[in-house]
Amino acid sequence: MIAQLHAVLPEIAILVSGCVVLIADLFVPRSKRHVSFWLTQIALLVTIWIVVATAQLAPVHAFSGMVVDDMLSDVLKLFALVAVSLMLFYSRAYLTARGLFRGEMFVLTLFSLLGMMVMMAAANFITLYLGLELMSLSLYALVALQRDASAPSEAAMKYFVLGALASGMLLYGISMIYGATGHLDLDRVADATLGAQGNRTLLVFGLVFVVSGIAFKLGVVPYHMWVPDVYHGAPTPVTLLIGTAPKLAAFAFTLRVLAGALKGLEFDWQGMLIVLSLLSMGLGNLIAIAQTNIKRMLAYSTIANMGFMLMGFLAADLNGYSAAMFYVVAYVLTSLASFGVVLLLSREGFEADHLDDFKGLNRRSPWWAFVMLIVMFSLAGVPPTLGFYAKFAVIEAAVNQGFVWLAVVAVLTSVVGAFYYLRVVKLMYFDDPVDTSPIVAPGDARALLSANGIALLVFGILPQYLMGLCTLAVTQSHF
């Protein structure tokens, strides 16, 4: 029993700390709210330590195969924890200025993180679904946290309705797969599909619904409608949260379901992913050009990036999966810094979410302009930034499996994408500032955001460690 608990220790830690923060926050006066903040940060730090300390190469199944503790889940949990911790640091000033620096913020964030971690460790469709719902429900509530404003409420409503629809589709798909194979355990389903057992028509139907659910969570075309509205409407810290850690969970979900359980239907989902990938890269990059709001622009950029990531996935071999994982991790690190800068430039009563707010940033602060420059070139995939190696690895995986034409289309859409990333650089460096107010932010947020920006450059010059970690995670987890 103790050994079983060992496998879910990080989840237990987050659950307990979520409850502790919830209760402790009741007794903390309004002026001492930072106590809850630091409690949350300590909880995240301790959990990071637990994940690292309990990491082992061989996968451990626990609770009758409901969860699995393997390198894949460990690495993804690690990055998700770091992402959430950074997100809270970056957004402290923003939240305080808007009266959102409250216990609910921390508790809901911790519970959504718990949901993500359950998803990452799931070895059964039920666990997977439970994790997904816990994550999604907490995120819906987070989007609506700013009750008195209309845009967040609208975004939350859209997110909830569309998310519920996607969950329903996913559940329907899972039920079909259960009907066809008689199993919910991912490994057993894999055995059944690889052994060509079960009703194939039913399986493929189930697959279609499952892929739809996955596509919704990743936010790829044509299931992308919620992404721009939610990114735009949600308070920026929540946008930052939605844009980072859940992508890691969605990746784990995709990997475990498609590459694990439904490996036998590889040919079928490969075709679907090609369509999703092409549409996302094309549409995402094109529509992003027309955006004037940076949060919306980054939303379309997410769509395009997830489409690019799927290209590694549909190569359907270890090489491709590790490339896709590297891509997601690189994307999350870049995304953190991008929204971090948006948060940094915002202040009381002012949202720096319009593209014009970046005008002349180089004059106001050369350093933050430089950080944003690295972020933009990383998103555009220009060396020597991390984003280049992510794209490189995915292209390599696709070409390796003979998808040269897909790689060519992907790079052509990247050129389109480069246009709007360059536009941000243009605004920062070539234009004169319209807003000359000084940039104020707490020291810890500045230091961490600077480190985040430099990390994109350092990992761009020395990418092998991050790449190696992703390869290790995928190969040790038996796909």
């Binding site: 050369p366 060396p383 990247s414 360059l422 650089v425």
Partner: protein
């Protein structure tokens, strides 16, 4: 053994980062001196590349190898042969000039300006020295970032358009090249260029790869019809940007032809040589006529660059030692001459804030020293014997005549066209009576400008009178390259 190549890459980059720290406007004088010291150090570490160079072998020299990304078998592998070594030195020399040329001219964001050029210098040296596909690509593409900023921040009125056009044009070509690099990796399981030189490839595959590489490098050269970014970029870029763009970055495109296309894809190169030769001749003749009608000096020199670079690609695809050596000599000469021409225009622009030929006339009356330099460089641009411009053009024309007299005739038209557009411009700008009060108020070159131009003039003259050291360095490597191209890989 001292890693000279690594030093030539990292000394300027680190100096550039050091300069960036001095970003406040009050730091400007210190930023200039630190930048100059960095550029000088960057130039000095490249000198041993020339003095210690062994001209008797075509093997790579100053080789450095270290594992970089083991997962894809990517190596930090550097080395130069007779073809690339001169460009590393040329580039470091030009960086020194550019830092010096921007001394008083650049007044806003001095540190960022200097840093951009220093970092770019390191990246360019990296591209010339890289012997690994990914390493080359990283340097090749990373240098777009500083150039984008240089054009966009310190450029003219239409700088945003020009910078964006420059970036997107180049990115489109180079991303397709990335797919080609990855494809070659899949075939050979290696990113080492040496392995790619040996791998057999079928003709259709070679042609597909040729298309990808050709797009990347022909945009950079630039060849007609993908040249349209260059006049815009040149006109809008500050003088230093134009100098580096014309003298060095165009050469990387041409260098790509000899480093990648010819030895990796010899059969496709021979198969498609007619196509490239026609494009080159269009560049030489048609663009020469286009240059003739320009009213903007910088645009005229930009078109003249395209026309001269057409000579380079023509020389490569004649597949004879004369042609390739002529093309390489042309590249180096054009590096000096175009840089000098842009510096001359810069001198005028700093005084009059106009690049229009019509705004000038009779400059010789007020700026005699300057006029002497300008006429000299114009002669070199027109390919007058005893200047460096003559060596390359003569060798390429000779090779062209040997291949086909009509080809030689077409190529030789450049002698007339080049003389026509350059000398006509000089006549309108420099000679005649003083055209207007602004010209009458001009002051002659300062001491800094004088020595700057004199330095380049010495190089142009030296290479024109005694080209042997330059040609000797490249000779063995060129022979080896042509042996490679002659061998079929089918």
């Amino acid at each position: 053994m001292i890693p000279y190549l690594s030093l030539s890459i990292w000394v300027p980059i680190l100096a550039g980062l050091a300069v960036l720290v001095l970003h406040r406007d009050t730091d400007a004088p210190r930023a200039r001196w630190v930048a100059l010291a960095g550029a000088l150090a960057g130039f000095l570490v490249t000198l041993p590349l020339f003095t210690h160079f062994d001209t008797t072998t075509s093997a790579l020299q100053f080789v450095e190898r270290g594992e970089w990304i083991p997962r894809f078998d990517v190596w930090y592998s550097l080395g130069v042969d007779g073809i690339s070594v001169l460009f590393v030195i040329l580039n470091s020399f030009m960086t020194l000039l550019v830092v010096w040329a921007g001394w008083e001219v650049i007044q806003s964001r001095v540190a960022q300006y200097m840093a951009a050029f220093l970092i770019m210098s390191g990246l360019i040296n990296g591209a010339f020295a890289a012997m690994d596909g990914v390493l080359f690509y990283v340097f090749f593409e990373a240098m777009l970032i500083p150039m984008y900023l240089i054009i966009g921040i310190w450029g003219g009125p239409r700088r945003v358009y020009a910078a964006l056009k420059f970036f997107l044009y180049t990115l489109l070509g180079s991303l397709l090249m990335l797919v080609a690099l990855v494809y070659l990796y899949n075939v050979t399981e290696s990113f080492a260029l040496q392995d790619w030189y040996r791998v057999p490839l079928s003709l259709p595959v070679q042609i597909a790869l040729f298309a990808a590489f050709f797009l990347a490098f022909s945009v950079k050269v630039p060849m007609w019809p993908v040249h349209t970014w260059l006049p815009d970029a040149h006109v809008e870029a500050p003088t230093g940007g134009s100098v580096i763009l014309a003298a060095i970055t165009l050469k990387i495109g041409a260098y790509g032809f000899v480093r990648f296309i010819l030895p990796i894809l010899p059969d496709a190169s021979r198969y498609l040589s007619g196509f490239v030769i026609v494009l080159s001749l269009v560049a030489v003749i048609y663009i020469g006529f286009v240059a003739l009608v320009q009213s903007d000096m910088k645009k005229l020199i930009a078109y003249s660059s395209i026309s001269h670079m057409g000579f380079v690609t023509l020389g490569f695809f004649l597949f004879s030692p004369l042609g390739v050596e002529g093309a390489l000599a042309q590249m180096i000469s054009h590096g000096f001459v175009s840089a000098a021409m842009f510096l001359c225009v810069g001198v005028l622009y700093d005084r009059m804030h106009s690049r229009q030929i019509a705004d000038y006339g009779g400059v010789v009356n007020t700026m005699p020293k300057f006029a002497a330099f300008m006429v000299f460089f114009a002669m070199a641009n027109a390919g007058l014997p005893a200047t460096s411009g003559f060596v390359g053009e003569f060798l390429v024309i000779l090779a062209a005549v040997k291949a086909n007299p009509w080809l030689g005739f077409a190529a030789a038209l450049t002698l007339i066209l080049g003389a026509a557009y350059t000398l006509w411009m000089v006549k309108r700008v420099v000679f005649g009576a003083v055209a207007n009060p602004h010209v009458a108020a001009l002051t002659d070159v300062s001491r800094r400008e004088f020595w700057l131009l004199a330095l380049v003039a010495v190089a142009v003259l030296a290479m024109g009178i005694w080209p042997k050291p330059f040609v000797d360095v490249m000779h063995v490597s060129v022979t080896d390259l042509l042996a490679h191209v002659a061998k079929s890989k089918l």
